[in-house]
């Protein structure tokens, strides 16, 4: 199936990763952050000082105890960081140099049934890789989804290139797909970038429905793809995961151990040599960014600049992230910044004269470029929202906490990332993504 998207925008940033792998020593510190999983209440199994192997349980989901979270490395738990109200923020593990893996008995791959695959994934801590729409939470293994969606590409700014990453992984990828297709009775969709020629590993994938998505960002967002291919109605559940998750699953079933390695891109204008890195889930970014960033005040982000989370220079990679972005922290005041012609101020609108001066790539910083205001400009979000909903009306429904209206306006179809471009473009500087998250949380609580 072909999907053409016209609404959206590609924000061209400086600092895309060169297509080479950088060699860097593995980090000593790793962390699993319960805050990466929306609405999760963790119940700790380990305590500070415990020794764990890769694949050993760290904590589980208090509301759905079968969902376990395991250690990506072997070593000792050195810290459980807590925030306000003793909320657990990070479970930090100091890794051994040689990782010891817990062995899982898989049995004959060809004879695994649906329930066995799910049970193995749950026990090894692979299940959290599978998320669901609506709500963008970890999938409930007891439910059966109407489809599984895999977005084969990431269209967000400076995103890692899967065609490069997956070079030579044909066997593992197909193995993973064969397993994943068994856990869902509906169709598994693999969505590829229609604007480019995807790698052979994706083009030749079997057992899945291949769809091509054309157009600018957010074409790669799974929510946009679901909306155009098999939209979610009230009561429907769709599961989704990323291509690298498929590899992780395949490696686990092939070797019987939780190999949590993945490939990430270090990107952004503040990076000296933006490249690809092979790391382990939850790694501290310190060894990666050390000596590889330019001078000046910086912002480190796990994920991309639109949806990622801000971390420290020694913070940890997010569970679902395949990218680290480093940009300039824009805490400067600008004299008459709103009045001057602005030949160098990038804008999706043409209100600054930068359209005269359109460059290949831009170095955008974290400055807000203005203060928050009430909604004045209209029609702006609609230009960046390829899903057939009324974004501003939905946001207003969330602000007044009208659940029925939120449902009617299509909140089941969206996640915060689908609104990221709206938030970027917003003239009134409204915190759009956090409002959408609040709406999803309200609905989720109402449903449970």
């Amino acid at each position: 199936m072909d999907v053409k998207i016209s609404k959206g925008a590609d924000i061209k940033l400086k600092g895309s990763a060169d297509r080479v792998y950088a060699n860097v020593a593995n980090s000593k510190y790793y962390a699993i952050k319960p805050s990466d999983f929306h609405l999760l209440t963790p119940k700790m199994v380990v305590k500070v000082g415990d020794y764990v192997e890769a694949g050993d349980i760290l904590f589980y989901d208090k509301n759905l105890e079968v969902i376990k979270f395991t250690s990506p490395v072997s070593g000792s738990v050195i810290d459980i960081v807590r925030g306000a109200k003793r909320k657990i923020l990070e479970v930090v593990i100091e890794a051994e140099t040689d990782i010891k893996y817990k062995q899982f008995e898989i049995g004959d791959l060809a004879n695994l049934n649906k329930q066995q695959i799910i049970d193995h994934m749950l026990n090894a801590g692979l299940w959290p890789l599978i998320r669901q729409r609506p709500f963008a939470t970890i999938a409930n293994p007891m439910e059966s989804p109407k489809a599984i969606f895999i977005s084969g590409f990431d269209s967000s700014p400076l995103a890692p290139d899967n065609d490069f990453i997956f070079h030579g992984d044909d066997y593992l990828f197909q193995l993973g797909l064969d397993l994943i297709t068994q856990i869902c009775d509906g169709t598994t969709h693999l969505n590829l970038d229609g604007n480019s020629n995807p790698a052979k590993v994706f083009r030749t994938a079997k057992g899945v429905q291949i769809n091509h998505v054309f157009g600018p960002h957010p074409a790669g967002n799974v929510g946009v793809q679901i909306h155009h291919i098999d939209p979610i109605n009230k009561g429907d559940v769709v599961w989704y995961l990323t291509p690298q998750d498929i590899l992780t699953i395949a490696k686990f079933f092939k070797d019987g151990r939780y190999d949590a390695s993945k490939i990430i891109a270090l990107t952004g204008a503040k990076v000296k040599k933006p490249r690809y890195y092979r790391v382990i889930q939850g790694t501290s970014i310190a060894p990666i960014v050390a000596d590889n960033t330019h001078e000046g005040e910086k912002r480190f982000i796990t994920g991309n600049v639109l949806t990622g989370e801000r971390i420290n220079a020694d913070g940890y990679l997010g569970f679902y992230d395949f990218q680290i972005s480093v940009i300039t922290e824009g805490n400067y005041s600008e004299f008459f910044g709103w009045l001057l012609p602005g030949f160098h101020k990038y804008s999706l609108s043409r209100t600054f004269f930068s359209w005269l001066n359109s460059k290949h790539e831009y170095d955008l910083d974290s400055n807000n470029h203005g203060e928050e205001r009430a909604y004045v400009v209209t029609g702006q979000y609609e230009s960046y929202m390829p899903i057939d909903i009324f974004p501003v009306q939905l946001i207003k429904a969330i602000l007044i906490e009208d659940i029925e209206l939120m449902e009617n306006l299509g909140i089941y179809e969206v996640d915060t990332e689908d609104f990221a471009l709206c938030e970027y473009a917003c003239t009134s500087k409204i915190p759009v993504q956090s409002i959408i998250r609040r709406g999803l949380d309200i609905i989720k609580k109402e449903c449970s």
């Binding site: 400067y332 203060e371 004045v376 400009v377 209209t378 009324f390």
Partner: protein
Amino acid sequence: MKLMHNILKKIKPHFEKEGALSALYPAYDAFETFLFVPNHTSQSGTHIRDSVDLKRTMVIVIIALLPCLFFGMWNTGYQYHLQLASAGLQSIEDYNFWDHFFFGFWKFMPLVIVSYVVGLSVEFAFAVNRKHQVNEGYLVTGMLIPLTMPIDVPLWMLALSVIFAVVIGKEVFGGTGMNILNPALTARAFIFFAYPTKMSGDKVWVHSADKIDGVSGETALGQLASLVDIDPNDETVISKISEFSSDGAYSLSNSFLGIIPGSVGETSVIAIMIGAAILLFTGVGSFRIMASMFIGGLSMAYVFNLVAPDTNLFMSLDPIHQLCIGSFLFGMVFMATDPVSAAQTNKGKIIYGFLCGVLSVLIRVFNPAYPEGVMVAILFMNVMAPLIDHYVVEANIKKRLKRLKVDE
């Protein structure tokens, strides 16, 4: 620049929570953010933000209004000098371009100053009182209000209408972004109904027209309003009609250039079109509203053409000519497009604009006592806009529910 920054930094503590002047913090904040785009960085969601903000958007509208402003100043002088010439007091050749312009400049600047000083004072008072930030909305409203006024409007009347517009038109609803009616039109409507003698007739549109016995300083619409129930053979009627022919005072080319009497900013089609081009190119103004309102007005004028009796020149006037006179185009480009009071959905904007156009022409033609229909039409559609949006959104909801039923 650095000096200003340091001064601001130095006095800031006085306005903060513990300071003696903390009640005035919104005023300080408005002043600081006027000079400097603040050093705020993104705290949630996206880590990068577009350069555009509300101040920039408002400035673009003001820039788009400048051609109308400058032309209006020139035309004010030109119309006055034309009147002197027709009264036999002076010859129009005695004045050059700059004489016209500066005459208008000195007459018009007091209106602009009063509008901004009074309007912003009210805004600041509300901001300080309610402890919210001073919003930028008035930057545009403050320019629009004087541009829709006749040049001789008494300043106290202007001030009163500004206060009415800001308080009743905007602040009682919660300030910029929350209002139902367009504040600039609210000001004009207030003054129109409260002091009709200063806003209509043939003695208000040119400076000192009531003192000088020159040619009639009537607007094209006022003139047309007297041509709706006529005897086509009457001589005065024929002379009046001839004013709309190609060499008359209200000819299409004169209306297009804008060298006719009227509110300061509304007369020149060329100046308005430059403004429209700026708004559309920057993406600040809505093409949907402008285009659909133009088509709406044009269609209505065509329909009138088809059914016009011989005795009604207003109805049989050429549709393009019909739209070029009065404030139709000014209202279309600068008033109907106000995003807060217009319809907010894309489909809604098209319906809203079309009805604005239809009603504008309908009201001006069918109510001769009341030639300026655009103002009332847009205000009426402002009230109707939420209803239009409601049905557009409702259609989207129905579509989603239908999909649910088809799936089951």
